[in-house]
C-alpha cells in the first residue's frame, strides 16, 4: 500500500516505508502515530456521522494513515467509498475512455478481487471449479468455424512456390549447346524408365518427394544429380577407397545405436506431415483445422467454377445474345464479332485488349445525322503579323471556349514581356518560344462551338519559314479564314497572303472567309468604310483570279484586338455603325460557309488518316496520334496499320473534339489512343490505314500539277499534307490543255497544267504512303512552285 506523497519526507517516513510491511505495520507504530490515531479518529467519525455514514475504527485509521493524518481528505475518501453514486459516475467516465480490452481486463480483475488472479490459484484451488470434462470438439463447440457449411470451408494447403527454370545465358555458345544436348538426353532418359514409386503408407517416401521437386525446381540437370554433385569432390573420391580413417569408427558404433535405430524414428504429427509433404503428391493428407480440433465431413470447394467465373460466363452469354439480336444485319459487324471472339479464345492474359464493339459505323452515322450539329474545321491563313492568332483568340474568348480568367493571366504575363497586345494570341500560341517571339510556329488546334455548329480552329503560322506547317494545317481543314490587315494589304499581297491563298487552293479548300482585320486602326479615322471597301474589292478580285468561286468568298470587317464584329456586331452608334447594315459578323460568316457534310460514300471507303501529331496523352493513354480522317471510318478496338513503318496497333480509345467517342468517320479530326505499338514507329506525316486494305508505299508517282513557277526536271520538296519529303521532278510527262497539249515538254510554263513524274529522293526509306487524288504541293527554294493531285499512285 502506498501513502499519498504530498507530504515532505522526514527520515522516519523513509524508514517506515522501507521497513514497515503491510501485515506488521500495526505493531511498529510509533508513539506519535498512536497519539495521532487516538486524536483524529473521533474527529473523522464525527464528521462522517454528520453526513449520516458509519465507519469502523479500522477503516478510519487506514484512511488517516493513508492521507498522512489529513482529516479532510480521509473524510472525503470514506464518504466516497460509502456513497455509491459518485463511484458510478466515475466508472461511466472510465467506460468512455477505456477500450474494450481494458474493460474486459477490468472485469476479470474485479472478478478475481484485484489480485494477480492466475497466480492466485494454487493447483489445489483449481480443482474446486465445478466443470465437466471437455473434449476438444466440445470445447470449440461455440466457435463459428465448427458450424460452417462445408461449401465455404477452406483448407490449409501449404503454398508451393513456382520457381522459374533457370537456363544458361547466351544461346549460341558451345557451353549452351552442350547443356542443351545434355538436357535433351536427360529428358529422354527420364521419360523411358522412371516410374514413380507410390507412397506405401502414411509416412512419406522421400523418393517421391524428390521426384516431384525435380519437376518444380530445375537447373539444366535433374535435381538429384545437382544435389549429389557437390559431394563428389575429387579429393573425397580419393579418400574413399583408402580405408584407414574409417576403420577405427565402426567397432564402437554398432554397440548401442544400431540396435536402437529403428526405435527412435517417430512418425510425424499432423503438423509435421503437412509441413513436409508436397501437396501435389498427397492431396488428401493436408491438415485441416477441423481435423485437428473437431471432426466433420469435408468437400472440395474448388471443384465447382468460382463465383467470378459464373458471373463472367453469364455476362458473356447475355452480351452475345444482345449483339446478335441488334446487329445481325451487318455482315461486317458479325465478322468483327467473330474476330473478337477468336481473339478472346487465345488472348494473352497479361494485356487487357480493348474489344471492338462491332458497330456498323456508316449506318450509325446516317442515323445520327439529324441530331448532329454541323461541324467544320477551318484554317486561319494570312500574312505574318496580320493578327491571325489574336483574332482567333478573340473568337475563342467571345464564344466562351476560353475563360476571361485565362486571358487575364496571359495579359499579365504578356505585359511582363512587353507584348501586352499578344495576350489573345497566347491562347493558341502555347509554346514558350512562340510566345516570346510573338510568331506562331506550328499549327495550333482549338475547338469551340456555337448554338448551331461546332468549329475547330487550325491556327496556321504566317511566317514564310513555317509554310510547311501551314500546308499540314490547311490539309486538315474544310475551309479557310483569310486574315488581312486593312492597312497593310500591299505588304500582304506581296508576301504570304498570296502564297497562303495559293496553298489553300492547292490543298483543295473551296470556301474562304476573309476577315479584314485591324479596322479599328485605319487611317485617318478608325472604321473607315472606304478603306474596307478598297481592301474588299482587291481581295475579292485576287481570290477569284486564284480560282475561288465568287459565291464562296465572304468578306467581313472586324477587329481582333477590340473584338468588334467578331462574335458581336458593333453597336449601331459610333464609327462602326455602318458595319451592321450589310455585313455579317465573322462568326455568322463562318456558320454560313460551312461546307456540306461528308458524303456517305467516303465513309464506307477504306480507312485512311494522316498523322498530324504524335504525342503522349496521359498515363492511361501513353501513345496517341491526332489527325483528320481522310476516308472511311474507325472505331474503338479496331486494329490499324501504320505506313510506312508497317506496324500494326490497336485503338484503345478515340476522341473527337476532346470527347471520347466510340467511332469516328471521314472528315473528323480525331485523336486515336493506341496500344501495342512503339512510339518510334509513328511520325507525323505517316498514314494510318485499314490493315486489310492498306495504303501502298511508293517511291515515285505521277501527279497532275499546276505550275506557279516554271517547272523543269528539278529538285523539289514534295508536300502531301503533313508529310514533306525531298524529291525531284523526274520527268515532265505532258502538258495538259486543249491547244497547248504536248507530250514530253521541256518546260512547264507558269500557269500551265502538266502531268509530271515525281520521285522521292530518300533512298533509305521504302517509300511513302500515297493515295490517288491526294493533294500535292511542290516547293522549291522556300517558295511554292506548283500544286496538284496525285494521279496514278
Amino acid at each position: 500500500m502506498h501513502r499519498v506523497k504530498n507530504v515532505q519526507y522526514n527520515e522516519e517516513d523513509l524508514y517506515d516505508d522501507d521497513e514497515v510491511d503491510e501485515g506488521q505495520g500495526e505493531e511498529q507504530l510509533t508513539q506519535e502515530d498512536r497519539d495521532n490515531f487516538a486524536n483524529l479518529t473521533p474527529v473523522v467519525r464525527a464528521e462522517l456521522e454528520e453526513a449520516g455514514l458509519q465507519a469502523s475504527d479500522r477503516e478510519i485509521q487506514d484512511a488517516l494513515w493513508n492521507y498522512y493524518w489529513d482529516v479532510g481528505k480521509s473524510v472525503n475518501y470514506l464518504k466516497n467509498s460509502r456513497t455509491p453514486r459518485p463511484q458510478r459516475q466515475a466508472s461511466k467516465k472510465d467506460a468512455k475512455a477505456k477500450s474494450k480490452f481494458d474493460q474486459a481486463a477490468e472485469k476479470a480483475e474485479t472478478g478475481c478481487a484485484g489480485e494477480g488472479w492466475v497466480r492466485k490459484f494454487s493447483a489445489a484451488e483449481r480443482r474446486d471449479f465445478a466443470m465437466p470434462p471437455l473434449s476438444a470438439a466440445e470445447w470449440f463447440q461455440g466457435v463459428p468455424w465448427t458450424g460452417l457449411s462445408p461449401s465455404i470451408r477452406g483448407n490449409l494447403v501449404p503454398a508451393e512456390p513456382v520457381r522459374p527454370r533457370p537456363r544458361l545465358l547466351g544461346g549460341s555458345s558451345k557451353l549452351a549447346k552442350l547443356a542443351e544436348e545434355r538436357r535433351k538426353r536427360n529428358a529422354a532418359a527420364a521419360a523411358s524408365p522412371e516410374v514413380e514409386v507410390p507412397a506405401s503408407n502414411g509416412a512419406l517416401s522421400a523418393l517421391d518427394r524428390l521426384a516431384s521437386i525435380k519437376d518444380g525446381k530445375e537447373n539444366d540437370k535433374p535435381a538429384a544429380t545437382t544435389q549429389a554433385e557437390p559431394r563428389k569432390y575429387p579429393i573425397r573420391k580419393k579418400r574413399e577407397p583408402t580405408p584407414p580413417p574409417r576403420e577405427p569408427t565402426p567397432p564402437p558404433a554398432p554397440a548401442e545405436p544400431q540396435e536402437e535405430a529403428p526405435d527412435l524414428r517417430a512418425s510425424p504429427t499432423a503438423f509435421g506431415r503437412t509441413l513436409s509433404t508436397s501437396p501435389r503428391q498427397h492431396p488428401t493428407s493436408t491438415m485441416h483445422l477441423k481435423d485437428v480440433l473437431g471432426a466433420s465431413s469435408q468437400s472440395d470447394p474448388f471443384n465447382a467454377p468460382s463465383p467470378d467465373d459464373v458471373v463472367m460466363r453469364a455476362q458473356q452469354h447475355s452480351k452475345a445474345v444482345s449483339n446478335t439480336s441488334t446487329k445481325q444485319a451487318s455482315t461486317k459487324g458479325l465478322e468483327r464479332q467473330t474476330q473478337a471472339l477468336n481473339l478472346d479464345a487465345d488472348a494473352t492474359p497479361q494485356q487487357a485488349k480493348v474489344r471492338s464493339k462491332g458497330l456498323d459505323v456508316p449506318r450509325l452515322w446516317a442515323e445520327e445525322k439529324s441530331k448532329r450539329k454541323p461541324s467544320a474545321a477551318f484554317v486561319v491563313i494570312g500574312h505574318v503579323d496580320h493578327g491571325k492568332s489574336t483574332l482567333m483568340g478573340r473568337l475563342l474568348l467571345d464564344t466562351g471556349a476560353v475563360a476571361q480568367r485565362d486571358i487575364d493571366k496571359y495579359q499579365k504575363a504578356a505585359t511582363e514581356l512587353g507584348k501586352s497586345s499578344f495576350a489573345l494570341a497566347w491562347v493558341l500560341d502555347t509554346d514558350p518560344q512562340e510566345r516570346e517571339r510573338g510568331v506562331t510556329v506550328d499549327i495550333a488546334q482549338h475547338h469551340f462551338s456555337t448554338d448551331t455548329a461546332d468549329f475547330t480552329i487550325l491556327d496556321a503560322p504566317g511566317h514564310r519559314d513555317f509554310v510547311p506547317n501551314m500546308i499540314g494545317g490547311a490539309a486538315m481543314a474544310d475551309m479557310a479564314v483569310l486574315v488581312v490587315d486593312a492597312n497593310q494589304l500591299d505588304s500582304g499581297m506581296k508576301g504570304q497572303t498570296r502564297e497562303h491563298v495559293l496553298l489553300a487552293k492547292a490543298v483543295g479548300l473551296k470556301k474562304v472567309v476573309v476577315a479584314v482585320n485591324k479596322m479599328d486602326d485605319t487611317k485617318p479615322t478608325a472604321w473607315r468604310e472606304a478603306a474596307f471597301e478598297a481592301v474588299r474589292d482587291e481581295v475579292r478580285s485576287f481570290l477569284t483570279t486564284s480560282g475561288f468561286g465568287e459565291e464562296d468568298v465572304l468578306v467581313v470587317p472586324c477587329s481582333g484586338l477590340g473584338g468588334e464584329n467578331v462574335v458581336k456586331a458593333p453597336s449601331s452608334m459610333g464609327a462602326a455603325a455602318w458595319v451592321a447594315k450589310c455585313n455579317p459578323t465573322l462568326l455568322q460568316a463562318l456558320e454560313r460557309s460551312i461546307p456540306s457534310e461528308t458524303e456517305s460514300k467516303t465513309v464506307t471507303q477504306p480507312f485512311r488518316m494522316q498523322i498530324a501529331d504524335v504525342f503522349r496523352g496521359s498515363i492511361q493513354n501513353p501513345l496517341s496520334v491526332a489527325g483528320r480522317i481522310v476516308a472511311g471510318h474507325v472505331q474503338v478496338g479496331d486494329s490499324i496499320l501504320v505506313q510506312p513503318s508497317g506496324e500494326t496497333a490497336a485503338i484503345r480509345a478515340l476522341d473527337v473534339i476532346d470527347e471520347p467517342r466510340d467511332f469516328a468517320v471521314a472528315g473528323q479530326i480525331v485523336t486515336l489512343h493506341l496500344q501495342d505499338i512503339e512510339a518510334q514507329h509513328l511520325r507525323s506525316g505517316d498514314v494510318v490505314c485499314d490493315p486489310k486494305r492498306p495504303v501502298h508505299l511508293r517511291k515515285s508517282f505521277e501527279a497532275v500539277v499546276e505550275a506557279v513557277d516554271p517547272l523543269l526536271p528539278q529538285a523539289v520538296d514534295i508536300h502531301i499534307g503533313r508529310l514533306h519529303a525531298p524529291g525531284r521532278i523526274e520527268r515532265l510527262v505532258e502538258v495538259m490543255g486543249s491547244e497547248t497539249g504536248r507530250k514530253k515538254p521541256r518546260i512547264v510554263r507558269q500557269g500551265q497544267k502538266a502531268k509530271v513524274k515525281l520521285t522521292f529522293e530518300d533512298a533509305a526509306s521504302s517509300g511513302f504512303p500515297l493515295v490517288d487524288g491526294e493533294k500535292v504541293v511542290l516547293r522549291a527554294a522556300g517558295a511554292t512552285v506548283g500544286y496538284g493531285v496525285v494521279d496514278a499512285a
Binding site: 488472479w117 483449481r126 470434462p133 545405436p257 524414428r265 517417430a266 510425424p268 504429427t269 503438423f271 509435421g272
Partner: protein, 298 residues
C-alpha cells in the same frame, strides 16, 4: 515513438486464456515412462523449404499422456523446430575479405512456442542459443572451401520445451532455463541435417544430446543413490520436479569429438558421467539424423 514496423497489439492488452481445470480431474505431474537412458522418438526430415538451399524439420511428437489425463492441454511439452540454411553465397561487396565460410546463426522462438510468450525481437536467451549453436556448427563445417562467402542458419522454434510442469505453483515458467537445453540439442541436430541438405561440406554429422541430474528417482528405472540424483537422458522438464544439473553436447560420432558443451547447475562429482550420458543421447539422435539424410539422398 510508436512501433510502426510491426502489427502492434491493441492498446490495453488482452487477458491470456486461463484454462480452468475440471474439478473431477486430478492433476498429477506426468511420469517419465521411458527408461532413464531412453531417448524420445524423433521425426526429422530435410528439404521442407524449397526456396532455401537447405532446410530441415525436427520434431519430438508429444508423448501420449493426453487421453489418460482427460485434459485438452498436453501435460508435457514437445519440440518442433525448423531450420533453413541460406548459402553458401557471396559476401556483400563491402564486407571484408574472409578466407573461410562465414557462419551466421539465428535462433528465434515463435511467439507461441512456449507458455511464456516471446516477443518478435530476439531476446537474450535466443541470442545465447544462437551463439551456442554457432560454436557447435563451426567445428564441423569445412570453411576453407568457401572463401569470401557466407552461410546463414536460421532456426525457428515452433514449439519449445517448457522449463517445468505448468501444474506447478509457478505455472511452469519457473525459470531455470532447463527447457532451453533440450531446444539447443534439437537445434544442433536439425541444423546439421539442413547443412547436409544444403550440400555444405562437413567433417561429420553433428548431433546434439542432453542429459540431466534429477533430484527424484528419474522415472521408472532409476533409483536415487543416497543423496545423489539420478542421471537421465533426454529429459522432459515437466516430468521432473527437481533438476540439479543439465548438460548439452554437440557430438561428432565418427570422430568422437565434442564441438560444444554447455553445462548448467551443479552436477558435483557426477559431471563426467553427466557428459557421458549427454554424448550417449547425442549418438542416439545421430541414428535418426543419419536415416533422414540417407533418405533424402536416395
Amino acid at each position: 515513438q510508436a512501433d510502426r514496423r510491426r502489427l502492434n497489439a491493441p492498446p490495453g492488452g488482452t487477458a491470456p486464456p486461463a484454462f480452468a481445470t475440471p474439478k473431477t480431474v486430478k492433476l498429477e505431474r506426468p511420469k517419465r515412462t521411458r527408461k532413464p537412458d531412453e531417448h524420445r522418438k524423433i521425426y526429422l526430415r530435410t528439404g521442407i523449404v524449397p526456396s532455401a538451399s537447405g532446410s530441415a524439420y525436427y520434431e519430438i511428437p508429444p508423448q501420449s499422456d493426453q487421453k489418460q489425463s482427460g485434459l485438452s492441454l498436453p501435460q508435457t511439452s514437445s519440440l518442433k523446430i525448423t531450420c533453413t540454411v541460406h548459402g553458401p553465397r557471396p559476401l556483400p561487396r563491402n564486407a571484408a575479405f574472409s578466407p573461410n565460410l562465414l557462419l551466421t546463426t539465428h535462433v528465434k522462438f515463435a511467439p507461441f512456442a512456449t507458455r511464456h510468450r516471446r516477443g518478435y525481437v530476439r531476446d537474450a536467451s535466443e541470442r545465447d542459443l544462437a551463439v551456442h549453436l554457432e560454436t557447435a556448427l563451426r567445428g564441423v563445417i569445412i570453411g576453407e572451401r568457401w572463401p569470401k562467402s557466407g552461410v546463414e542458419v536460421v532456426i525457428t522454434v515452433l514449439e519449445g520445451e517448457e522449463d517445468g510442469w505448468w501444474g506447478d505453483a509457478g505455472g511452469g515458467g519457473g525459470g531455470g532455463g532447463w527447457g532451453l537445453m533440450g531446444v539447443l540439442a534439437g537445434c544442433i541436430t536439425v541444423a546439421s541435417a539442413a547443412l547436409v541438405d544444403a550440400g555444405i561440406d562437413c567433417v561429420d554429422l553433428v548431433s546434439g544430446g542432453v542429459a540431466v541430474v534429477v533430484g527424484d528417482g528419474g522415472g521408472s528405472g532409476g533409483k536415487p543413490k543416497g543423496g545423489e540424483g539420478a542421471l537421465v537422458l533426454d529429459p522432459s522438464p515437466a516430468e521432473h520436479a527437481e533438476m540439479r544439473a543439465a548438460c548439452v553436447v554437440a557430438y561428432l560420432h565418427s570422430r568422437d569429438e565434442i564441438t560444444e558443451l554447455w553445462m548448467r547447475g551443479d552436477a558435483g562429482a557426477e559431471s563426467e558421467r553427466l557428459i557421458d550420458e549427454a554424448v550417449k543421447a547425442a549418438s542416439l539422435a545421430r541414428t535418426v539424423l543419419v536415416e533422414a539424410v540417407k533418405e533424402a539422398v536416395e
